[in-house]
């Protein structure tokens, strides 16, 4: 990563608490930490690329698609069977008049994960191949916005608990959907770890796309 301006006099904001930190020439393998809150401001140079995040988010999107179209559980009591998709729960809650919960479940288990993975994939593609794709900033902020609402990992645990509960009543079988939900959970967790916001900001800056307006909140 080559810096855009001479080192030493440039101030950068800590990504966590926004304290000003002076950009420094770091010895190999060292990182710059914020003196106020202790979070990493500049990571050790080299090493990280955009490809892992891109690969994981694309894989995650496939898994999410499959998780949405295949049944998660099959429940049977006294010979009557019923399969449940992720969307069946949303529909059923809507049907019972609990639209607020239905919307929350829909956003947290389908919409936000999809938006999050799409935006990571989009931004990573642009950064990895140095493409000037339209609306890069919109997607970059979308990833930030959707991240706390992407609750697929929590959903996968809830599925396990519900299997336990349903076992008390009747027979429950896992279906392909459950495996895909688990896959999405792991893929998003890894993508979250590997999608480095600072690295992206740096690359967008190097591509001349980081205007003054880009430094939002």
């Amino acid at each position: 990563m080559k810096p855009r301006s001479p080192l030493g006099n440039e101030w950068i904001a800590c990504p966590h608490c926004e304290a000003p930190c002076r950009r420094q020439q770091l010895p190999a393998g060292c990182e710059l930490r914020c003196s106020r809150c202790g979070s990493t401001v500049i990571e050790p140079a080299g090493k990280k690329t955009f490809q892992p995040a891109l690969a994981l988010s694309v894989a995650g999107l496939f898994a999410l698609f499959l998780a949405s179209i295949s049944p998660v559980l099959t429940f049977d009591v006294a010979g009557r069977e019923q399969a449940g998709y992720i969307f069946t729960g949303v529909k059923e809650l809507l049907h019972q008049g609990y639209w607020m919960i239905a919307i929350l479940v829909f956003v947290a288990s389908m919409l936000a994960p999809a938006l999050y993975l799409v935006s990571i994939a989009y931004v990573s593609t642009a950064c990895a191949f140095r493409l000037r794709l339209p609306h890069l900033f919109l997607f970059f902020h979308l990833a930030e916005w959707a991240e706390p609402w992407n609750l697929i990992p929590v959903y996968s645990i809830a599925t396990v608990v519900s299997v336990v509960k349903l076992r008390m009543i009747g027979g429950v079988t896992w279906n392909d959907g459950a495996r895909w939900v688990l896959a999405v959970a792991f893929l998003t967790l890894f993508a979250q770890q590997l999608f480095d916001r600072r690295l992206v900001e740096h690359r967008l800056g190097a591509m001349g796309l980081l205007g003054e307006s880009g430094r939002g909140e």
Partner: protein, 167 residues
């Protein structure tokens, strides 16, 4: 764009709402399970007790932590952070707590997802069905209030001390 004063007052309003909603969310049943004609309304803690009684302490523990302890902890710690806003006491501790709230906060959604999965499969009439109850709405309310409050109150605001005349 939101001003800092607006952020702080909105976050305070949201946490207060969350704290108030926390009470009905634990008193009113979240779902009604019907098994072989027997109807049983379940509160959040009732669900935990049922799991405990059926010899599943690990799962009962997870649900207890995620749906009872986490929301409570979230409301209390956000209230603490917001009460101390503008002072320079415990700034680094507040910073750490804010980070933890951010990380563990979403686990309280487990109960809502549980309800959704159970409602999806449990529609076999008298044999076995699960329907949502109003308690779930209060529970959702607590969740949403805390999530938004933690998002709106940025960590940088922790480090602002009295110089700011607006707050």
């Amino acid at each position: 764009m939101m001003t800092d004063a607006f952020r702080v007052s909105t976050a305070r309003a949201l946490v207060t709402t969350g704290a108030l909603l926390y009470i009905p969310s634990n008193v009113i049943p979240v779902m009604t399970m019907t098994v072989a004609g027997k109807t049983e309304p379940l509160t959040v803690l009732g669900g935990v007790k049922e799991l405990w009684d059926s010899n599943l302490p690990a799962i009962a523990g997870v649900v207890f932590l995620a749906s009872f302890v986490v929301p409570l902890l979230k409301v209390v710690s956000l209230a603490w952070i917001l009460c101390l806003h503008g002072t320079d006491r415990h700034q680094s501790a507040r910073n750490t707590v804010h980070r933890i709230v951010h990380r563990i906060g979403s686990w309280s959604m487990i109960d809502i997802f549980l309800l959704s999965v159970l409602a999806a499969v449990g529609q076999l009439g008298a044999l076995g069905s699960v329907i949502a109850n109003p308690g779930a709405i209060y529970f959702c309310g607590v969740m949403i209030c805390c999530l938004f409050a933690a998002e709106i109150y940025k960590p940088r605001l922790i480090w602002e001390s009295h110089e700011d005349p607006k707050t």
